[in-house]
Every structure is written in C-alpha cells, then in structure tokens.
Amino acid sequence: MKNSDDQISAWIDNSLDEYAQANVEARFSKEMLEQEKAAALRIGELLRTHSKVPALESPDFFNSQIIEQISRETPTLVEQRASSSEWSWWNPRIAWATAACVVVVGAILFVAFPVADSAETMVVDVEDFTSGYHVSSYTSEANRYALVWVDGWDYIPGDTHIQ
C-alpha cells in the first residue's frame, strides 16, 4: 500500500482511479490537498525556470578526450583473451614454481654428486718389496678400473693345486 505522501503525489498528478481519489479526499482536508498541489506546481515552475544546463563551449574537444579515456581503459582483444583465463606461461606463480623446482633439482644433484668427492678407482702409490719382482700400475680411462701388474712370479704348473 502506498504511504500518505505517495497518495498525495498521485492525487496531485491526477493519476488515481475514482475509488482511490475519493479515499484520499476523504482522509485529507480539501484545503490541505489544495495547498500541497499549489506547492508542487510552484516547485515545478521554479525548476523549469532556473535549472538551465550551461552550454558546452568546446564539445568536440571533450568528446575526443572522453573517447581516448575509454579506449585507454578498455582492454585490447589480446588482453581480454589473456585475462579471460588464469592460464599463462608467464603467470608469475608458474615462473616462481619452475625456478623453485630447478633450484631443488640442482641442490639434489650437488648433494648426490659432490665435486670434492672424486668417484675414481685409482692406484695412488705402488712399491714392490721382494727382489725379483717388478710392479707397475695403470688406471683405465674414466677410472673404471685400476690394474697392478706384477712381473717376476714363478710359473705354477697346471697340476699344482691352488688352495
């Protein structure tokens, strides 16, 4: 249901049906309704008389400024596509996560294969103690194995049992 002000405004505008109009006229005195109507007409007349919009002196300049501002703030087609989805190879989170993974793998490789710990099989030093023997050493390429060659052994016949 409309409140009293709405009913009075509708009565002034003469937009009520007969029943509602009679209802308003029964609730409010005729004098008061006429005063409200006179006040409303006076305000409308004042607004029509004094509320003129000032003329724009350079409408083309302002139009061009507005259009430029709109074009700056409106994303391009590429930007719209990029922003329409969260996925991008240059997403900062992707870049940081990739960098972190590279660091982790690098650290594991460094720990697993320390530079200082040479993984080599090699003969550091060799000497023969017994006269009649000659000893020489050799280390293979890539340190896959080492060899110490001893010359001067007595031949062992094939029927000799090796314990």
């Binding site: 982790v104 710990d117 099989t121 550091v124 017994t130 110490v148 001893v150 052994w153 090796i162």
Partner: protein
C-alpha cells in the same frame, strides 16, 4: 573436483620434481651404508665356448680380454670384510695369497686403503689405492698352467 590450469600445472611440476629427486637419490649409495671390501681369486684361461663371467666381472669382460688376453674367467675363491676406517683386516682368497687391508678413509663414493699382497707369507707388493664402489682393482698374479691367476679387489 575442478582444478584451474595453473594449479594443475603446479601439481604436475611438483610431481615431476619429486620423481627426478627420487630417481637421482636412488642411484647414489647412502653415506651411512656400510662398504664391504671383497677380494677374489680368479683364473683366466682361453676356451672356445666360455661360460658367463662371475657377476662382479661382467661389466669388465672386454677390459679383461684386452688386459690379460683370456676369454674365460673362473672364480676360485673369495673373501670379504666390512670396510672400517683406520682398522686393519686380512682378506684371504686362498691359502697361497693373502691381502692385508689398512682402511684409511671413506668418502661417499670411494674408499681409500693401503693394500699389501702376500704370497706364501712373503710380501710381494704394497700399494695405496682409492676404490670406488663396483670399480675394481685387478692385480696380475702368476701364470698357472695355461692361464693366469688374477686377484680382484672390489668395494661393494
């Protein structure tokens, strides 16, 4: 459950990193893992249809052929001891050949030691070596019949 492409990619990247780390670390011996020094006496001969080499020599078959010229290598006996730093151990792959191992130091991938080779209780040679796991030291022994005795020292 719906995952955004970014979250899915991050999960995939993390999984791949874990997989790479696991693969790398699985191939490297644990520093705390005990090293074992093995001395083996093998006999190299020539034969038309040689049997397979002992397991610890299969990787070095072509090297053995090149060094000693034989195509058959039989394991005669072997002896093994744990590698403990700054201790001395005897490895006796046969009664005729004995090895005295003076363990010096152990790194993640290699063991340093002094090795003395004795034949009939007479020291034939003394050497300092650094042995990487599964990469052996071959010592050429005497000729025996139509072949040669070879002492293999390897760290497991």
């Amino acid at each position: 459950m719906n995952l955004s492409p970014t979250v899915a990619f991050l999960l995939l990247l993390f999984s791949a990193t874990c997989l790479v780390a696991e693969t790398i670390s699985a191939g490297v011996p644990d520093p705390g893992e005990e090293a074992v020094v093995v001395a083996a006496l093998i006999l190299g001969t020539r034969e038309d249809n040689p049997p397979a080499l002992p397991w610890f020599l299969t990787e070095f078959e072509s090297d053995l052929v090149k060094i000693f010229g034989y195509n058959r290598y039989d394991l005669m006996n072997m002896s093994e001891k744990p590698f403990r730093e700054h201790t001395s151990e005897w490895l006796i792959p046969s009664n005729d050949f004995q090895l005295k191992i003076d363990a010096k130091g152990k790194k993640r991938l290699s063991c340093a030691m002094d090795v003395g080779l004795f034949h009939h209780e007479k020291r034939v040679l003394q050497t300092s070596v650094s042995l990487t796991r599964e990469k052996p030291l071959f010592i050429a022994g005497p000729q025996w019949g139509r072949g040669r005795l070879i002492i293999v020292l390897i760290v497991k």
